[in-house]
Symmetry: C2
Subunit: 400 residues, 2 copies
């Protein structure tokens, strides 16, 4: 056995999160695509069967109240809250990430403009130019509908792009392609210094590392729940609104679910207080309750421990790649510095699409991002050091 | 046995849709709330278990392609299409009804303004003043973001409210409260004559009666799938865009799923052709595939037969109410004329909230709409004439 294999074995034997793996449905595949779709927590199908046969099948309409369907969006928001450093009452679950980016950005522009009458109008939205595309498209739509100009800049250049015309800034906590972690506390402070509001997209960090939304004074945040939170394909996203902003949160999607009295059926809209103001239409109960069940795997887990294991895994994987893969065949796009690294490793590689297909055939599942990136996500709850070693070894064999 | 009970028995024995009832999970409750949440089709839990354990649990990320997850929104749209009189390629499933109303209305305003440069700007959105509230709230938001004035009018007064400033009109095919069916062909023609676009909300008609979207030249339509389509609690809604408008459909929610090349990850948005242009973010697969399975109950069913049974059921229920309930205790808000009736009966009744609670205790489930309405929905696929007779009888006993 190679030294790295023995080392992986030793690391796994000391891993306090190792026992979590058995809570997921996994096989002998090395699954490094949890940053795209988290693995299935084993108890979810049973719970959802109960939702279908008992709550929908037997109680039917009564379940909106008796089974707690109506309050699911805020209840599940409160389950996610500790994972992103938020107190209860700040998050609400529902809709897709794209739709939540829209709510957050339009509301941010509106709030940034309040009380600024007579001064220069805030008419610029700054957006991460390297963002996952949907955020950019939605930001462009939000800009168009609020009369703003969209200013795409690299995250490092954001401070220089801020000014008295900046209304809102949309940033990704981690870059979906390279895995680079951006400086959430520093950039949030810079945006605030300019008198603007910041919206953070946490898709690639929630459940992988501490976020500290409340502690860092983040204004608004959104994220999906099907990556490191394992909520299932297309499970509903969430919206975070800082407590102090909640009374001013003015949603562009004011559905009946965000009304102060939703069953009053009143023609005039009056927004409910708190996180529920981010709700829109009838919540998608099957997907939402699958997510709620999936969050059980976090019971007793510390996000700091998750982060420590995540960094250890990506460090170890990069060492294995360095040891196994012939020089010059791949180049890591993921920063070496821990402070700048999310929970994935992105390798630039010639013919990456083809290489990934061969890796998948050999039981190592990552994904390909055009034009030339191999992406490997490390979910600390179920990925082992042995997985990391095997992935690097198979990659080397594939390229060899 | 009373005459009406014998008549119910005879009607049920001649009912060609009666066999459909066994495809649903039902008990000895008279379930007249399918206009709020359709009953569970018996095969859905089995299908969703397979989606979870095999597609998510085993294939994981591969299912986006191999299990057809990625194309589910348009594939399921094509399953709904014949039920609302649309050709394939006109509908896409996803998001909530509220979110789809937003997409449809903003896009309608944009399209109505095209090519009108130099003439009076179209800056009015006319909305049904008796609408289900969420449509009104969203219409107000769409008006605010597009610089329009919102004009709420009773549906009967819509023709008189139309003019050269009208951009878009949002109407309900059936009133959620009274069950009144509005004149879709006539109102659509009136809106077109004014040079505006119409958006129809089909929540209370799709699956209950023929809609004829293509035949009547409807521009845009939205609807939920958890009422007469039995998709499950909060199952995703749909958006219809008339073929001729599709190339001009300019969504205010242009997510990566509506990009011409979604995996190209390109920073510039370029809208895909066809119905997919109405997609936004990652589709909610569990809820979506539960809906897809639920639509199997429509195999071999003619919507005309459904309509015939629906009218026969509501006629019969109203007769039973007339025969059993003491004079003056309830008043039907539902039009007697078939052409003006959806698939529910709404009875105004003193103390309606309390009356409905007692009905539910006695196994007759309808719902209460503030301040004084008892609502009874008749889903022709699983409600029998015996159910209608029993509901009227228990209502009479409750009021007696």
């Amino acid at each position: 056995m190679s030294d790295l294999r023995s080392e992986a074995e030793a690391l796994d034997s000391r891993d306090e999160l190792a026992a979590k793996r058995k809570e997921f449905v996994l096989d002998d595949t090395v699954y490094l695509d949890g940053n795209s779709l988290g693995a299935l927590p084993a108890h979810v199908p049973g719970r959802l069967a109960e939702v279908m046969t008992h709550e929908w099948g037997k109680l039917r309409i009564r379940s909106w109240e008796e089974s707690g369907w109506w309050t699911a969006p805020e209840r599940i928001g409160d389950r996610i809250a500790p994972l992103v450093g938020a107190a209860p009452g700040r998050l609400v679950v529902g809709d897709s990430t794209s739709v939540n980016v829209f709510k957050a950005l339009v509301a941010a522009v509106r709030m940034a403009r309040e009380g600024h009458e007579g001064r220069a109008v805030r008419d610029e939205i700054v957006v991460d130019a390297t963002t996952f595309p949907t955020d950019g498209y939605i930001a462009e739509s939000a800009a168009r509908l609020t009369g703003c100009r969209l200013i795409p800049v690299a995250p490092g250049d954001v401070p220089g792009a801020l000014g008295e015309r900046t209304a809102a800034v949309l940033l990704n906590h981690a870059d979906y392609r390279t895995g680079r972690l951006h400086d959430l506390p520093g950039l949030t402070a810079a945006v605030h210094a300019a008198g603007a509001l910041v919206v953070w997209d946490l898709c690639h960090t929630a459940g992988a590392l501490p976020v500290g939304l409340d502690a860092h004074g983040v204004d608004l945040a959104v994220g999906c729940t099907y990556k490191y939170l394992n909520g299932g394909p297309g499970s509903p996203a969430y919206l975070y609104v800082r407590e102090g902003l909640q009374p001013r949160f003015d949603s562009p999607l004011p559905g009946w679910n965000s009304h102060a009295e939703p069953f009053g059926m009143r023609p005039e809209f009056e927004a409910v207080d708190g996180a529920r103001r981010g709700r829109v239409g009838t919540p998608d109960i099957l997907s939402m309750l699958a997510l709620e069940a999936a969050l059980d795997v976090w019971d007793g887990v510390s996000v700091d421990d998750v982060r420590a294991k995540s960094l250890a895994l990506t460090d170890f994987f990069l060492r294995c790649v360095g040891a196994y893969v012939p020089q010059g065949r791949v180049e890591s796009l993921t920063p070496a510095a821990h402070a700048e690294r999310g929970s994935q490793v992105a390798l630039r590689c010639e013919g990456a699409g083809d290489v990934m297909r061969r890796l998948v055939e050999r039981g190592v599942v990552g994904d390909f991002r055009a034009p030339d990136v191999l992406r490997f996500g490390f979910t600390p709850l179920y990925v082992s050091f042995a997985d990391a070693e095997r992935a690097a070894r198979v990659l080397a064999e594939t390229l060899g």
